[in-house]
Symmetry: C2
Subunit: 121 residues, 2 copies
């Protein structure tokens, strides 16, 4: 399951609070804390398969919400627009640096890049 960690982390980031406490705990230990199924099972005093079932159900619940709402897809579709803004600001900064050396234009380009960074977080 761990080869899907990026997708799982995104699902958990958006929809984790909709899970049960137990689903949330196991999911977090497995994907974010990187414990093995066996380690989680030992700590929780249940079988490895039991832990696995909880995690698989949590994943299915979150994936179903995403399939219906497309919210993560919507967030991710912003990325190319943010990249384009960043590239344009970088190019403007370079042009200004080479031709005009206007300090306010440099500031504005930097400000745009900083705002894009905060939006990408």
């Amino acid at each position: 399951m761990k080869n899907q960690t990026y997708r799982m982390t995104m699902l958990f980031d958006f929809y984790g609070e909709l899970l049960t406490e137990r689903q949330k705990e196991f999911f977090d230990l497995y994907y974010n804390e990187d414990l093995s199924l066996a380690e989680i099972a030992e700590n929780a005093g249940i079988s490895r398969q039991g832990v696995r079932d909880v995690i698989v159900r949590a994943e299915a619940a979150m994936q179903e919400i995403e399939d219906k709402t497309g919210i993560i897809r919507r967030f991710e579709s912003q990325r190319p627009h943010l990249d384009a803004i960043e590239a344009a600001a970088a190019e403007a900064k370079t042009i200004n640096y080479r031709r005009y050396d206007d300090p306010r234009l440099t500031e504005l380009a930097d400000l745009i890049c900083a705002e894009v960074s905060s939006l990408k977080d």
Copy 2:
């Protein structure tokens, strides 16, 4: 209920697909198509109070998801960053227009504003 139309439209836009078919239908007719409870009731062959109950439950279900996940809040928190990018690009465009008249700088500022617009949609 209609004084909350903006909030309801946002909830429906993000979480509408998680409602039942009936909730979705009544909610859409009431908030998006602007029918009255009585009109929806007559079309559906149920009581006005019945329609109201369906809509109130739909709203509560979506609000609960938002209270847990904060996804709409997260989307809305992007707005000031997008406004700042737009303002910076507009100022850069003005500076360029007044001092340098560099056509590529104008293009880049316009491109940034267009990307911001598409992100605000």
